[in-house]
Subunit: 353 residues, 2 copies
């Protein structure tokens, strides 16, 4: 059996609940696919920060590095100042482990209700490749004359040829593997001219190596319109860290809600462990009540299996989720707990060949 050394960060709020279901489904998939998961759980997040002031001790970062992958629930709590855990833990891991591909599929599964009228599952099937290690997320900027009428706060977006090119290459390769072979660059080059010109130029240059991939460009503002008015037009989307953050939440909304949106923070070269997490946050308002939908986390586990080269298991998990989503639609809106959803999907996975 292949044993996957997996670091688990349950995190805050609903994080531990949904991660438990993700692990349940992975365990259910294991025997059939000749897998084993050797998991180590790390307590990181609000509790640790309150207790010790630590977000991510160097020693823990070093331990995490020794794993094949990281499976994360969610971090963040209203009791912690905004940004402390996001920047000190989540973004720190994305940056430290070179997760330059933030992979976010946006798919409308059959049976799932979308807020859009007149949209069918085949109309929403895109893959957003969000850059994960630079842009406005670099954390650069500062404040002068704080608290005075003359205060200035800056926030700097950093875009490198190196950083843009590697994610654009990944996106082209991903587009080439999909039936429609279409790549849309989303940026705002008419205003953010320095960064925008770099992104455009890199897409043009790398695109010359992929003549079978058709390329187009949309300003981010127009892209949000098309996400709701014409989602069919998107296949693979490549975009910067901040625009990707925004449009993938919107993508989650149109594809049935944040309860279903999965993501992978990927280092394609495997120089570092990649990290898999639902797009949603820690939702402290519903934490501990068994109300959270673990589906996004379970689908993130499927992205992880894909990344680990375990395509058979990945497809089995995805199939089980798709079946469960269809069953939900048929059974009406029968309320199930977090664990019941996890059980149902785990059972289906276990039953798959």
């Amino acid at each position: 059996a292949r044993t996957v050394k997996l670091a688990v960060i349950p995190g805050d709020g609903i994080g531990p609940e949904v991660v438990a279901e993700g692990l349940k489904v992975l365990s259910a998939a294991a025997p059939e696919h000749d897998l084993a998961f050797d998991t180590t759980s790390y307590e990181l997040g609000a509790r640790r920060w309150h207790a010790t002031g630590e977000t991510l001790p160097d020693s823990v970062e070093a331990e995490l590095r020794g794993h094949e992958a990281i499976f994360l629930g969610a971090v963040g709590d209203p009791s912690v100042p905004s940004g402390v855990l996001e920047r000190g833990l989540l973004l720190r891991l994305r940056f430290a482990f070179s997760h330059y591909v933030n992979l976010r599929p946006v798919r409308l599964y059959p049976g799932v209700t979308t807020p859009l009228a007149d949209v069918a599952p085949e109309d929403i099937d895109m893959l957003v490749v969000r850059e994960g290690t630079e842009g406005p997320y670099a954390g650069m900027g500062g404040v002068v004359r704080k608290g005075t009428p003359h205060e200035i706060a800056t926030q700097d977006s950093v875009n490198t040829r190196f950083g843009v090119e590697r994610v654009v290459r990944y996106a082209f390769a991903a587009a080439q593997r999909r039936p429609r072979r279409r790549l849309t660059l989303v940026h705002k080059d008419n205003v953010l001219s320095f960064a925008g010109e770099l992104w455009q130029r890199v897409v043009r240059e790398v695109g010359a190596e992929y003549p079978d991939v058709s390329v187009d460009y949309l300003h981010v503002d127009a892209a949000t319109m098309f996400f709701v008015s014409q989602p069919q037009r998107f296949d693979v989307v490549v975009t910067d860290n901040l625009f990707g953050d925004i449009i993938t939440d919107l993508g989650a909304a149109v594809a049935g809600g944040i309860g279903l949106a999965a993501s992978g923070n990927i280092n394609p070269e495997n120089d570092f462990p990649s990290m898999f997490e639902p797009v949603h946050g820690s939702a402290p308002d519903i934490a501990g009540q068994g109300k959270a939908d673990p589906t996004a986390t379970i689908l993130s586990a499927a992205i992880m299996l894909d990344h680990l080269g375990l395509e058979g298991a990945a497809r089995a998990v995805e199939r089980a989720v798709a079946e469960d989503l269809l069953a939900r639609a048929k059974d009406g809106a029968a309320e199930r707990s977090t664990a019941q959803i996890g059980d149902a999907i785990a059972e289906r996975v276990a039953g798959q060949g």
Copy 2:
């Protein structure tokens, strides 16, 4: 009669067509409201740039300054490099004339089709107050080692206490005048911590002067989700220049499309002329064919009338548009030309007391 000295910039693509209808409706409103419009048209945009290399000569800027308001169609053409006209003309005017309030109502008019299922007109009625003179639009940043593998492009967002406070004050005052008295700050303070903290602090401090306005905060990514899943939750939204650009295009999409979205670039102190324009662009693909919907431009004229203190005329134009939109729904999808729509609305305005 009050005579309004109006500068008109028809611009590119569909700009001249929609501006003509806007002026038609203003003329129709004039007699009943004892108004006259003394208009001067300025040829600015792609043609001028091709002919002379100019986007906005200083002398023209000085002439525009001598008007009470500017009425603009759209600028931009694929034959002009991306950003040249946007930055050299449109943004230059917004910055030079201190249009720090970019006012963008998002309303679903009865009869208008929205891409959202299960949404009624009363569910979408918000006012987005977008900052217009700083943020990532300041144009700051640069490139080093261009064209090499070590290229770096930066893009800097500039946020000042002065700039943030004045737009936040405007937003609170606007919220106080509306029945729901609710203000939502949209930012991304967990990542853009320098700018985000400034915005949060200013909203807190100014909010103390408006105890009857309830305040909440949303990250921009979450805000895009709620725009489609729960637009009811928004009343007045205040946000930075870039986030405002993005969410107002999304707002236009959910409220029936870019053909209806109006805006005002406002200098509340009237130190400079304010500028009114549809949110849509120049749409060169349909230019000159009478296919453009002039409604967004006509509604922008209504915002202009409001700004000029001509509330009676503003309400009359809005009412005429609302009636026309309802009539469109009743008559089915009878295709009308740009001029026919303008005629119909102008007739209704003329008929109003």
